[in-house]
Every structure is written in C-alpha cells, then in structure tokens.
Symmetry: C2
C-alpha cells in the first residue's frame, strides 16, 4: 500500500488561488463545491416522507431523502435515485423547490417537490426508519440539518399551488430569504 | 518535476463505483459534478448582457457571464463574482431562473435573473467584448452553448413578471421541458 499523500496548499501555474497539491506526484486536488440532490416527497394525503439516518453525521435524526449527485446524472435523476436508495420510494418530480448553498462546507443542495409515483416505501441501507409525517407531527427537535427545516418550510409555503421561484438559504446571499421578490 | 500520475479506474474500499485512482500514491480522485453559476443580466430598457468569449472552448462566441462556483461561495456570490470578472458589472440578483444539468460533462448550472446594481460594464480578461442586446438583436447563430439559448428563452418566457419555478434542461429529466407543471 502506498502511503497516503500529504497534500500542501500551493498556487498551481496559471491559477490564481491556492489548491491542495500532492508534493510527491504533482497532482492538484481541485476542491469543488459538491451538489446534493433531494426531495420533499408528499403522499396524496399531504404527509411528507422523512428518513431517520442510520449513518454519521447526525445518525438517529430525521432528514429528507437526499445525497450527493453522481457524475453522469441530471439533478432530477439523482433526486429520484436517492429517494430509491434511502427510502425505497419511486417518486415523480414536480419541480425545483429550493437551491441552498451551504458555503462553509462547500455544498449546493437542489431540492425538488415530489410525490409518490408508486405506493410504498421502506428504509434503505442508510436509513433506520422511513415514515410519513403530517405537518403537525414533524419531529422538529430531531431534524438532522438546518436545510431540512428550510426545505420543509418552503414546501409548506408553496402548499399545493404552482411552484414559485426556488427558495434560497435564509442568510448570506444578499437576497431576501426564501422568497426572492420580482424585479 | 514529478511525472503526471496515470490514474486508473478502480472501486475503492467501502465504495460501490469505479473511481479514478493514482496507482503510485493511492490518491482517489473523486470526480464530482461541478457547479456553474451565471446570470441573465438585463438593463432597464430590457436589453440583456452578453460576453464574447476570449478563451476556449467556443472562443469568439457569445455567452452569459458565468463560470465555476468556487469553494466557500454561495451560488449567489459566485454569480455576482462572475459578472464582475467577465463583464466588470455589479449586478443585483432577482432569483433562480434555471437549473440546468449537463450530465454528459458533469455540470449543474444555476442561472439567476439579474439587473445592473450600478451602471457600466466592460470586458474582463476572459471576454473579447461585452454588449447589451435587444431580444431581436441576439446573435443566435453565434451563441456559445445550448444552455445559453435555454436561459435566454426562460428569461424571455418569464418576462418582467414574478419568477416562476426554475426552468430545467429540455431533455433527459423525465420532466416536461422548461415549465414543470403543478402537482
Ligand atoms: Zn501523489
Ligand atoms: Zn499520485
């Protein structure tokens, strides 16, 4: 087994920013923000699907079916795959509910509004439990991540009407919260 | 100078997909989709800002001010930075106009609707020329990328009204083109 490379921060030739570089082989590990795709999936009775996480971080807490977009996927394909992997649910996407930047950890989350395309759901390998919650049953104090709160709030705000412009994270954008105004 | 590493495709331990791996030092180069951020920037008279590319690919062709999101940025911050870098324009964002997946090349493009926050624009180092175009003046046969066409079409469709749900790429999503329907 080769030793793990110890990367150093250096400005590569022709670049303007420091990048992680392997001093042994010269490889430049460009760190790019990663795309997370997920969905707020509602049943016909208006209850929403949440998954209790089996894995770190935030194991035991409730989240939306979501995960990292893979190469070769559209965001829509990725969101459908994650719903299958985490909740064994076949879903139909309605449109983009939110685009959340979590700049501190280099994530851009694209969250869809969705419904069940087929009945049935069950925990996938990364979930302890999957469950439908009426709005007043959502375990707010056991939600895994702030963006899950935001997405549920945006979903509730849109109700069953036409989707408005994508919600954005509530801070740090220079844009007013989750409801961008008209020009 | 160390030799450029020759990466091979291998499934790393604990993973389920082949990843590019350096056989010399064991580094796994996870290839993740990259996020492009950009804007359709309109002047008060309704003309839109395009930049003629000074660099490959598609040098000499017209595009929107757009580029790769950097670590530590929100998509809104990245879109504002790119408008400054490519068109020396200070812009105010209105909301997310479109989210385009270009799965073949591993890109997710988040395109905003925007206006000038201050008067003035000029070519940045990656642009040969920056210009405002009325709709009927847009050089359609000299547009750099299909997604620029799509974004201009989505912008025209939204006109100056409230932004609708984000447009999506016209194919391959399982969703009907650029206007996702209500539930
Ligand atoms: Zn190395
Ligand atoms: Zn190496």
């Amino acid at each position: 087994m080769p030793a793990a490379p110890r990367f150093v921060r250096r400005i590569p030739e022709g670049d303007t920013r420091e990048r992680l570089t392997c001093p042994e082989c010269g490889f430049v590990a460009y760190e790019n923000p990663k795309v997370v795709v997920g969905s707020v999936v509602a049943a016909a009775d208006g209850r929403v699907l949440l998954c209790r996480r089996a894995i770190a971080p935030r194991a035991g807490f409730w989240t939306l079916p979501a995960g990292f977009l893979e190469m070769g996927e559209t965001v829509a394909e990725g969101a459908r795959r994650e719903a299958w992997e985490e909740a064994q649910a076949r879903i139909a996407l309605d449109g983009v509910l939110a685009v959340y930047s979590i700049a501190r950890i280099g994530q851009v989350q694209v969250i869809f509004r969705a419904r069940f395309a087929e009945p049935g759901f069950a925990p996938g390998p990364e979930s302890l439990e999957t469950r439908l919650f009426a709005w007043e049953e959502i375990p707010w104090e056991q939600i895994a991540f702030p963006s899950v709160h935001w997405a549920l709030g945006a979903w509730r705000g849109a109700a069953t009407g036409p989707l408005p412009a994508a919600a954005l994270e509530p801070d740090g954008t220079g844009m007013p919260g989750t409801t961008p105004p008209g020009l």
